[in-house]
């Protein structure tokens, strides 16, 4: 897997026809929205329109059966992209194909193979039971009566709501509602599932259980292609084979999460020593293995040092060697998980450096 700058993968819509194995194919997809102005501004300049880009020239291919993460902060364009794929928003330019079907011209076909998981639990019928909710969607999705009932039972079992099937949804916990939302999306056995921040309203324990369910049941047993939008880097790392980083409507990079971090050139490490160590690392800093050293003493007599280390495990080994040679008393040496902000900053920085070069 490699990190790909968006420009490098841009294909003109006419140049490439989606292949049979592709679940989603985006080519130069663009969407912008009108910026809402104050009443005063609208009266002063009634014909002026200001636009805000939501998706800028997005090109990407997601293969059938992939678990793909769409990583980006709030307002990055994740939800807009999902709504375009779900045929709820019309794109302004470029093309988007789902299973080979165009999202504008063949919207009905798209809806037969793709299901967006609306994570807002208000979208369930709270006064109906879980079974009644699912049976409604089975009918809407054209499942024959008997097959629909069987499918609903299967799904209630799969999401662990078998015993709660006849309970009114309003009495469900957040986690149960989330699972029911997933089951609802799976009623028609979609090939592609869109999940927009599914663990947002779950406690850590429920979120972990839910992620396991996604990985084992949805992606594993059901074999769905899953597109997961999240701003939780850990979640993306845990679940996704590949991730795309979306920022301000631009797809900054696509690749495996580990590759993305590695190709950013460095990993962040944290070190606890009995005394300050920057001197011991000076040589490595000159060589470019170590960068951005920040040291501060903590209350228990240890000094905490954070640094960027280039070269993966080789680089980390050099740091440990240097510390050993300097006789530093090391209490702990650990990798610091990358936050989404780190990832985006690193990718932007890398792109800037490559364009400067």
């Amino acid at each position: 897997m490699s990190v790909v700058a968006p420009g490098a993968h841009t294909v003109s819509p006419a140049a490439r026809i989606p292949l049979a194995g592709e679940a989603i194919h985006l080519a130069g997809l663009t969407k912008r929205f009108v910026v809402r102005r104050s009443l005063g501004a609208a009266l002063r300049q009634p014909f002026l329109r200001q636009w805000s880009p939501a998706l800028v020239d997005i090109s990407c291919t997601i293969e059938d059966g992939e678990f793909f993460g769409l990583l980006g902060p709030n307002g990055a364009g994740k939800t807009t992209l999902f709504k375009v794929l779900a045929t709820l928003v019309l794109p302004d330019g470029g093309s988007a194909a789902v299973g080979g079907y165009d999202v504008i011209r063949q919207a009905n076909q798209v809806r037969k193979i793709l299901a967006p998981v609306i994570t807002d639990d208000r979208s369930l019928y709270w006064r109906l039971t879980a079974r009644e909710n699912l049976e409604l969607y089975a009918r809407l999705q054209d499942l024959p009566e008997e097959a629909g009932r069987r499918r609903v039972s299967e799904l209630l079992d799969a999401v662990g709501l078998c015993d709660a099937g006849s309970k009114m949804v309003g009495a469900f916990s957040s986690g149960m509602k989330q699972r029911l939302l997933i089951a609802r999306a799976l009623v028609a056995r979609p090939r592609i599932l869109l999940l927009d921040e599914p663990t947002r309203s779950l406690d850590p324990l429920s979120a972990r259980t839910f992620r396991a369910f996604l990985r084992e049941e949805i992606s594993g047993r059901q074999g769905c292609t899953v597109l997961l939008a999240t701003h939780n880097t850990e979640e993306a790392l845990e679940l996704c084979g590949r991730v795309g980083v979306l920022h301000q409507g631009k797809l900054l990079a696509v690749g495996s999460a580990a590759d993305l971090i590695r190709q950013m050139g460095s990993e962040r490490y944290r070190l606890w020593t009995r005394c300050p160590v920057p001197g011991s690392l000076a040589a490595l800093e000159r060589e470019g293995v170590v960068d951005g050293i920040v040291s501060q003493p903590d209350a228990e007599g240890w000094t905490r040092t954070e640094m960027d280390v280039a070269g993966g495990l080789e680089g980390a080994a050099k740091v440990i060697d240097a510390l050993g040679r300097a006789g530093a008393s090391v209490g702990r040496f650990e990798s610091v998980p990358r936050t989404l902000a780190d990832l985006i900053e690193g990718i932007i920085d890398r792109r800037r450096r490559s364009s400067d070069a």
Binding site: K31, F33, V34, A54, T80, K83, A86, T87, L88, V89, L90, N108, R111, K112, A115, P116, I118, D120, R122, S123, L124, Y125, R127, L128, E132, L136, Y137, R139, L140, Q141, D142, M168, R184, A185, A188
Partner: protein
């Protein structure tokens, strides 16, 4: 059709879970018809001449008007109201993600409201008959046909209001204006002959004027559909023209909402 019925069933199950609400709705209807009966009786001598060509009995005249207005209210308000709450709760977006077509979703969303109105109308009719309203039961098929035409002529206003909800997130005062004008000028509570002549001219632009005149001629006078053909022709013209216009505007509103990304926002 099956998808539409599934949505109607979901609305019914939801409504049935509020049993007290249903009961109160039916009881309040009964509470309303009793005073109407006595007021109509008191006004009978005053109204007798002006409604001579429409049954001549004011309680029956009022009953037909009130039942028709109930359907009118449902036709004009149920779609924008249901669409607004469906968008606000997120069910609309979820429904749009299914194989159901927009038309099926729209029809299914309001189907239950029409069925419930029919139940209430039937109850009102039964009570009205028990109180002696001179309605001709054998003219029911013709009456249903005319009522259907009236509803068809007014659903477009509901579609236009729903288009407003989709495009601007408000139906404005369109439903209230349509119901007020139709109620005042369409002959719900009094025949249009009793209003000032300049208002009578305006009432010619109200579809309900023709619908109610035809309906009363059939159920209160026992007249044939053929005799009401001129009124029914105008009513059909309204229904056709308004349906075409409202469908076009609704389609534009959906397109606008999809383009601006506000289809599922309220």
């Amino acid at each position: 059709m099956r998808r539409m019925l599934a949505l109607v069933r979901a609305s019914w199950l939801t409504a049935a879970s509020y049993r007290l609400n249903m009961l109160v709705s039916l009881v309040s209807l009964l509470m309303m018809v009793i005073p109407v009966y006595f007021v109509a009786g008191a006004l009978q001598p005053v109204m007798a001449d002006s409604i001579a060509g429409q049954g001549g009995e004011y309680f029956g005249f009022l009953l037909v008007g009130i039942i028709t207005l109930m359907f009118l209210t449902t036709a004009v308000t149920s779609l924008p109201t249901a669409l607004g709450s469906s968008i606000a709760s997120g069910t609309f977006e979820a429904l749009l993600g299914t194989r159901a077509r927009l038309g099926e979703i729209v029809a299914g969303t309001v189907g239950y409201a029409f069925i419930w109105t029919a139940v209430r109308a039937l109850l009102l009719l039964v009570v009205g008959l028990a109180l002696g309203a001179p309605l001709m039961g054998e003219r029911s098929p013709a009456a249903l046909l005319i009522l259907g035409l009236i509803i068809l002529a007014y659903i477009p206003f509901g579609l236009l209001a729903a288009a407003g909800v989709l495009a601007f997130k408000t139906s404005g005062s369109l439903p209230a204006a349509v119901l007020t004008v139709s109620g005042l000028l369409g002959g719900v509570y009094y025949p249009t002959q009793v209003i000032p002549s300049w208002l009578q001219d305006l009432s010619m632009a109200v579809p309900l004027t023709y619908g109610l005149r035809a309906l009363r001629a059939v159920v209160l006078e026992g007249g044939s559909l053929r005799a009401s053909a001129p009124d029914l022709a105008v009513l059909s013209g309204f229904a056709l023209a308004l349906f075409g216009l409202s469908l076009y505007v609704f389609t534009l509103a959906v397109r606008h909402a999809k383009g601006s990304g506000t289809l599922a926002q309220y």
